[in-house]
């Protein structure tokens, strides 16, 4: 009984210290004591974020061999490589919480861990590469800028690095769209079609409305999340509408209207049935994306095993010298 009271006491002090730190705005570092819920929330969020970067390489990778100029090919390659790098930074930050990349990949394959829903949509034409860079990365950046101030040190540092590198991503996408809108009729139609298909899924990237978001409470209290889904979504809409107008693209939302009082745009209703249907596994590319990831992972197994075996051999040789 006495022992139990003592552990309770220790636990209480730990929680108090942790909350005081959060309150002061100090970053939490890997060896700091933290509540289980905080650790679990971060693991879930960071591994999802990392998986999204890596799965996100696929729809764009689909166009690498068909990029229409050497310059376009270089830009696209560099961008997809960045996504891979960002996945790597995020895995590496998540690993400081005591979960291995191997475990995270296993969770992705078993379906326990998710990735961003947006990548379950197909990249059909070259204009989709523009739309993904401009809208999808544009939406991601709004979220990531906010996350630079997240309370977990390694996560925040990874986000700072990622934001710095991502600044060209959105611009390259917008440049593709702008060039196409200045081009032939075919190109203009292609650009508008991509806009029509990617606009709504991009808005869904911010997640359900604040009124329906299950994890929001703790995430705010612990300063993992610094802005709400709706706030971030609004920010994205407000900056994107003007960019679309400049190059002559129409936002596919007939209810979109400037709200003079609130100084922001009102938008039409988001089709949440579609959102939950795609998350539930019935998007156009869910199976394709996951099959690809599993296949690459399995096909690479013999290479990783060989690298490990070679290291062991060399270590043994060194010992016998």
């Amino acid at each position: 009984m006495e022992l139990l009271e003592k552990t309770d006491k220790i636990h209480e002090t730990m929680l108090k210290n942790f909350e005081e730190k959060i309150e002061r705005g100090d970053a939490i570092e890997p060896k700091d004591k933290m509540p289980d819920g905080y650790r679990k929330h971060l693991m879930r969020q960071m591994s999802q974020h990392a998986h999204s970067e890596v799965i996100g390489m696929q729809p764009e990778g689909n166009w690498i061999t068909r990029a229409p100029s050497l310059r376009a090919k270089q830009i696209l390659l560099a961008k997809i490589q960045d996504e891979g790098g960002h996945g790597l930074y995020l895995y590496s930050a998540a690993e400081t919480l005591g979960i291995s990349r191997d475990e995270m990949i296993a969770q992705l394959h078993s379906g326990k861990a998710k990735y961003s829903n947006i990548f379950n949509y197909p990249a059909l034409t070259w204009a989709d590469i523009g739309a993904i860079g401009w809208l999808v990365d544009g939406a991601a950046i709004v979220n990531q800028v906010s996350l630079q101030r997240t309370s977990y040190g390694p996560y925040s540092r990874a986000m700072v690095r990622i934001c710095k590198e991502e600044s060209f991503h959105q611009r390259q996408g917008y440049e593709i769209m702008a060039n196409m809108m200045k081009g032939t009729k075919d190109q203009q139609e292609m650009a508008q079609d991509a806009m029509n298909r990617w606009w709504w899924p991009s808005l869904m990237m911010f997640g359900p409305h604040d009124s329906e978001s299950p994890h929001t409470g703790d995430a705010f209290k612990w300063k993992i999340k610094r802005h709400s889904n709706d706030e971030l979504r609004q920010k994205f809409i407000d900056k994107t509408v003007q960019q679309a107008e400049v190059i002559g693209l129409t936002i596919p939302d007939k209810d979109l209207k400037w709200n003079e009082e609130k100084k922001c745009y009102n938008h039409g209703a988001i089709n949440w049935d579609e959102f939950y249907r795609v998350i539930g596994g019935n998007g156009p590319c869910n199976k394709q994306r996951m099959d690809h990831h599993v296949k690459v992972h399995n096909e690479g197994a013999w290479v990783r095993a060989a690298a490990d075996a070679y290291r062991l051999k060399k270590e043994k040789q060194l010992l016998h010298l």
Binding site: P30, L88, R101, R161, R304, A307
Partner: protein
């Protein structure tokens, strides 16, 4: 072979320009030293961020325990005589 399919982790330290301190950049997975160095190069210097790289096996690093912070770091707080501003210099003395 280990059950982990992703190879061991290495911590990466980068020097941004000659003469600068090495600063922790993140980590990479690799089977051996050469691979770790090359992976660090391909991951963390894509924008010409570095002039030199160190890689260290993650498990070779020992970190201080936050619970010991008071005994580790507080005792240095009152040793003001270690800082140059602690000393009163006679008026008019130059280059000191």
């Amino acid at each position: 072979m280990a059950t982990d399919s992703q190879l061991a982790t290495w911590e990466v330290f980068m020097q941004s320009k000659p003469g600068a301190n090495y600063i922790h950049a993140g980590s990479v997975h690799a089977a051996d030293k050469q691979m770790a160095l090359q992976n660090a190069r391909d991951t963390y210097t894509r924008r010409g961020e570095g002039t030199s790289i160190w890689v260290v096996p993650t498990d070779a690093i020992t970190a201080s325990n936050p619970d010991d912070n008071d005994m580790f770091f507080d005792p240095a707080n009152d040793k003001v005589y270690r800082h140059p501003t602690f000393y009163v210099m006679p008026e008019g003395a130059k280059a000191i």
